[in-house]
Symmetry: C2
Subunit: 327 residues, 2 copies
Amino acid sequence: MTEGMKDKSSFVLGYEDAVAGTGEEVRRLLKEAPLVLRHMTSHLSKAAGKMIRARALLACAIRQDGSINPDAVKAAAAVELLHLATLVHDDIIDNADKRRGIDALHKRYGEKFAVLCGDWLFCTALEHVSTADTFQPKQDTADRSFTRYLTEVCLGEIRQNRNNYNYRLSEREYFRIIRGKTAALFEACFNAGFILSEEDAAIREVYLEIGSNIGLIFQLADDCADYEASPKVIKKPVLSDYSRGVVTLPLIYALKKDKALSEKIAAGLKPDALKAAVEEAGGLRYAHGKIDRLYKKTLKAINFLDIDIEKRELLLRLLKKAAGIPA
Amino acid sequence: MTEGMKDKSSFVLGYEDAVAGTGEEVRRLLKEAPLVLRHMTSHLSKAAGKMIRARALLACAIRQDGSINPDAVKAAAAVELLHLATLVHDDIIDNADKRRGIDALHKRYGEKFAVLCGDWLFCTALEHVSTADTFQPKQDTADRSFTRYLTEVCLGEIRQNRNNYNYRLSEREYFRIIRGKTAALFEACFNAGFILSEEDAAIREVYLEIGSNIGLIFQLADDCADYEASPKVIKKPVLSDYSRGVVTLPLIYALKKDKALSEKIAAGLKPDALKAAVEEAGGLRYAHGKIDRLYKKTLKAINFLDIDIEKRELLLRLLKKAAGIPA
């Protein structure tokens, strides 16, 4: 072993290694959980996510010399656990049957243990991140602390649930919801990655804007997919949002254009008929227009950054992935 | 305003002011919550707790000159919010009707919002604590970080719930449960208070032991009270543990002494008959014996500390309160 490798903080880590390392760390944390809940965490470890949030953090964390601080892997693993914690609680709240193709945790182990397992994942993630010493909140950036972003995620979830079956939801309030429930965690990832990248503080806001926009695009594309795709493609039932009372942008626009629609819904409109009505009223076209504008804006911001070509490629790939454009 | 008062960190705060300030801060945080959940946090603010955890933190935080670092108020308020978050989730899990004399949150606003409100309280508490700059985890004390203790609390809760209706629960496992679900948060308070007290690091372990023991005594006394008191005194139904399947020390001992008891329970023993059987088998005497031994040990540790008389008095008062001894 060379002198350089002994000193962990100077150990050179590339992007792909860091992604693989994060996946391993998440699996390890789940598989080595205390015995009393290992049956639940083992179940969760069976279905891996696409780790888009971890990838966002790691891509941002790439330094000028192309290396990544090993703390980024810790932070990325923590973000994936946090995301998993929110999914576990979400599934209880939505009474969902499946998640990532396997039984939802509460369906297999009961709500009681799912609440507690979510709490444990949450605590463990925060504990994990607190062991990364370059990742402590600084006084001047307390408003960008990890926990602050998490509070935003909670608020977004609460806002969404408060507006279930609210067919008068405004576009403005919709964006407020998704800015919290989805974009806040993406922004947190970009913030953490930015800190670890050791880039100039002056450029921070650009990173944060890219992060938030990618989160918005990701959620908008997901909300459109609910009205477009076949169950096979999106791995969840089509129009699951509508049947759960979650009102998203394509429907909000359609309700504005087609004044008779809300009465039809109140009378019990079938999913297929709703799908046709949303399409007919231009709801999907409108939502895709929003995605396009955000996409162009974010593309410009990524091209503005003074970064090396590999890092730029990764950020662009992330943007495309969020928008659902094949790589 | 004098020069000294302008500098917040040198502002001299006494214990009673700090306790009052903590209560105000908790109420303010609940009352000024974002509008979307203020109806829930307002409900929670109607019933104040006794703030025994906040008091523990503040008493420990008293410095040699008798003053308290204002950050201690932030940390103490955060601890009370964290405790409140665990109560909200506990009540969902136990399907409890009442808490602190008012409707349990999930009974009034539904489980969905209670899960989310608990999550929000949790995030807000952690966010609040992260704004206290003297209260960041240090690398050498990462195993004593706030989040580490919280993970212990979660694990204790999970262990307890896994052992509901387990009438073969061992005394050893019982102590493992209460060390997590109750003693860990008390120890966290003593740890935080100790850090803020600026005392010598060599004395840290003594503080932690006192904190953990006071937590154990508090839980043991609470578990005994469930077999002793009338509903009026403990503000919750007598034998509520038994009816929820929570097996505690008086019952564990009675089951060991009275071999016929577990069969009687399986056949559906009425609470009054169980109460008599536990008393008859010496379960309460045994549990009180445990409390007494811990009490004496902790008394010794408090007297060992080189602290001023007011601080000692406060710690002794806390110990008595935990054991249920009138001041």
